[in-house]
């Protein structure tokens, strides 16, 4: 008789695997057993597994104090026929009993993400992206400055920001520790900085659109959608690197989270019904070489402002009705 016993966690994750060959396999706390389970609720001679005349595996409880239970914590009969793959509880141990012919699933192809995650896990890559971010931020600050610009002061600012962002990977790595996922710290660093640079890249492109076609609903909404997509990407990556959930589950949780955040932001903006007394708008100006939009004629622009008066009038009516109630 050949039999395999896996010691598994409550969630059936394999902790150790033992293969036995012989008439019977004895299980207990005493050292003369085939499988020694060192736990105070296990009897010295607790149970044994043998093959009956029909060739089935049988688990036999040797009148132990705590008996043998199934995974739902129900005490089982003294002799029970085992189907390959069944899980039993002996003392506090979960064991799975398998025949050597138990089918195994097809091998999975190594997923690209895992491959990437492993390849990125180098200290020099992490350092490089952090440096690139630091330089990018410094240059960006320079090109945004129209007041006096002091290099050392600005460099310190960029450095502090870079170090600040490095806290994010620390948090993700800590989460990975908690969820017992192997920690790829440098990958997390690379991923975090790339995400932020992606966001910066899109805001640069966004500025170009804002300059040319700002005010249009298209620019406004696509800007918001892209921001939420980047947030989604970051959360997805963080969950992947910090937990053992499968890709499908991660995607579901991430989309859920992004939707929750987006609606919170939306209702927060909407819920505050107070009148804002100064105009709120964001107009962007870039060098005229980057002007691609076709200018509107004055008359066309004038008639396009009609809608602002209509919107304001509608709001006035809405607020007056609310005040009456």
């Amino acid at each position: 008789m050949e039999v395999v016993i896996e010691i598994v966690t409550r969630n059936e994750k394999v902790l150790s695997l033992h293969k036995f060959n012989g008439e019977r396999v004895t299980i207990g706390r005493a050292y003369d057993n085939d499988l020694v389970l060192q736990e105070e609720h296990v009897c010295p001679q607790h149970a044994e597994i043998y093959q009956n005349d029909e060739g089935q595996l049988v688990l036999h409880d040797l009148s132990s104090i705590n008996g043998v239970k199934d995974k739902h914590n129900r005490t089982l009969a003294h002799e029970i026929v085992v189907n390959s793959g069944d899980v039993f509880v002996i003392g506090k141990f979960h064991i799975r009993v398998l025949s050597t012919t138990h089918p195994v699933p097809e091998a999975k192809k190594l997923n690209v993400i895992e491959d990437l995650a492993r390849n990125a896990n180098h200290w020099y890559l992490a350092l490089s992206v952090a440096m690139i971010f630091f330089l990018w931020h410094l240059i960006d600050t320079y090109f945004s400055a129209y007041q006096e610009f002091i290099w050392p002061k600005m460099a310190v600012k960029s450095l502090v920001l870079t170090l600040g962002i490095a806290v994010i990977p620390l948090v993700v790595a800590l989460a990975a520790r908690i969820f017992k996922k192997d920690v790829k710290f440098f990958t997390i660093v690379v991923f975090s900085f790339l995400n932020i640079m992606l966001w910066q890249l899109f805001s640069t492109i966004g500025a170009l659109f804002l300059f040319n076609w700002g005010g249009g609903a298209f620019v406004h909404y696509s800007g918001q959608i892209i921001e939420y997509l980047i947030l989604g990407l970051f959360l997805w990556g963080a969950f992947y690197l910090a937990s053992n959930m499968n890709l499908k589950k991660i995607s579901l949780i991430t989309s859920g989270l992004v939707l929750v955040i987006a609606s919170l932001v939306y209702f927060n903006d909407k819920g505050n019904n107070k009148v804002v007394l100064s105009p709120v708008f964001l107009a962007k100006v870039l060098p005229s070489a980057l002007l691609f939009a076709e200018p509107m004629k004055v008359e066309d622009y004038v008639s396009s402002t009609d809608k602002l008066f209509v919107l304001a009038q509608e709001e006035a009516e809405r607020r007056n009705n609310e005040a009456k109630e």
Binding site: S144, A145, Y146, G215, S278, L286, P287, M296, T305, K307
Partner: protein, 432 residues
């Protein structure tokens, strides 16, 4: 002193007479005289009180005066504005010279000229008659009032004609008008009302509403009776007055040729009207600035009082030419963006009376092929239908080391006025 002591009795009398003739400016003598002269009018002068019903305390006081025997009283609109805005919270009463209180009702108002006509169920034997024409410039006139519960006071001063460079007719009065005198009459030496006290600019400068505005309001009120005026009636009345007033104010501004003026390398309109004066400034004095800014600010800053929280009627227009040879193009872009987005315009509104601003932006080309980026923001008045506050921020494009930021803020205008103003503006702002 020496002269006095050696003068004989006869010459002393002569001296006194000579001094009297010369003492036109001696206000002390005049005040005493005037007090005597006008003490007979005392019963015609009352104190108007707006009383908060909840607390029973007065929320504002001002002066009023009878203009006929049937109990018709004139005062300022701003003295009774709380009652007009929220009649459910306030009641109006007046206190006569014998400290007796009587209720009073509002017959008609004129927010543009800050006037109100009230009616009381009390016969007043003494009342003021209204002058039919303006006095001569330089003539002595006397502002009467009932400030701070002190009883009637007389402030003598001089009629200096109608204030110049002002869209609204106001008498320039040299004499100090105190806040509680608001709504009181200013009379000539015969006791005829020539104006109604309305404001002070401090230091012996006061402003009066000319009596002809009161004549107009009286004529308009001929067919009115006090019981027919609801809260809504007053709102509609104010809306009509504001709408008509903005139409004539902006017709004045829009239907004239705007004188062009060079600011940096751009043409801008300058002092488009006498009542819209301009002021200039620049940042040349800042040593470390990497760019120069030269600005021109023009505006009509005469406000129409609507309530304690809200005034309207301000027109503001400003231009800044921003230029730098030191900054690179991207830095200039940042500077231009910051200037374009910076706040502009008086608020003058409150949360219960206006809406949020609704904004929109675009790239616009005018007929002179000057391309600009423009942002329009509009908010509506909640109580006065069809009136809006409109702001416009714009920036001329196509010259990389410089730009012209142009902004304006129009208060209490209709959509048509705002759009006409915009077209006029776009014709007059361009690169050289």
């Amino acid at each position: 002193m020496l002269q006095f002591s050696i003068a004989s009795g006869v010459s002393r009398i002569w001296l006194c007479l000579a001094f009297f003739a010369l003492s036109v400016g001696s206000k002390l003598a005049n005040a005493a005289e005037a007090n005597e002269l006008f003490s007979s009018y005392n019963p015609a002068l009352v104190q108007i009180k707006t009383v908060n019903i909840e607390s029973g305390q007065k929320s504002s006081i001002g002066t009023g005066f009878f203009i006929n025997i049937e109990g018709r009283i004139v005062t300022n609109y701003h003295v009774i504005s709380n009652f007009i805005q929220s009649p459910e919270l306030y009641r109006l009463e007046f206190l006569d010279n014998r400290n007796q209180t009587f209720p009073v009702k509002v017959l008609n108002i004129d927010v543009i000229n800050d006037l109100a006509i009230l009616e009381a169920d009390k016969v007043s034997e003494t009342y003021f008659s209204l002058a039919q024409q303006a006095p001569i410039k330089g003539k002595d006139i006397f502002a009467l009032g009932n400030p701070h519960d002190l009883g009637m006071i007389v402030v003598p001063g001089t009629y200096n004609g109608i204030k110049i460079n002002s869209f609204y007719d106001r008498i320039h009065f040299t004499g100090s008008i105190n806040p509680g005198m608001s709504g009181g009459p200013t009379v000539d030496e015969l006791g005829r009302v020539v104006g109604i006290n309305v404001a002070t600019a401090g230091n012996q400068i006061g402003f009066l509403v000319p009596v002809e505005k009161l004549h107009n309001l009286i004529a308009e009120s001929a067919n009115l009776i006090t019981d027919s005026q609801s809260e809504q009636w007053f709102k509609t009345r104010i809306t009509t007055q504001l709408t008509d007033n903005q139409a004539s104010l902006y017709a004045n501004i829009i239907n004239t040729e705007w004188p062009l003026y060079t600011l940096g390398q751009a043409f801008i309109p300058n002092q488009v009207s006498d009542f819209m004066p301009c002021w200039g400034s620049s940042n040349k004095d800042k040593e470390k600035a990497k760019y120069t800014v030269a600005s021109s600010n023009c505006g009509v800053d005469e406000r129409i009082y609507l309530s304690g929280n809200m005034t309207t009627g301000v027109v503001q227009m400003s231009f800044s030419w921003v230029h730098s040879d030191e900054l690179n193009q991207l830095q200039l872009g940042q500077l231009f963006s910051a200037s374009l987005n910076s706040r502009y315009g008086h608020n003058n509104g409150s949360e219960d009376e206006v809406t949020d601003f609704h904004c929109d932006q675009a790239i616009i080309g005018n007929t002179f092929e000057t391309i600009s980026k423009g942002v329009t923001c509009v908010r509506a008045y909640r109580k006065y239908d069809g009136l809006y506050d409109v702001r416009y921020h714009s920036l001329l494009l196509e010259k990389d080391n410089q730009t012209l930021i142009g902004r304006y803020a129009l208060q209490g205008v209709t959509r048509d006025t705002a759009q006409d103003f915009y077209k006029k503006y776009m014709e007059n702002v361009k690169w050289k």
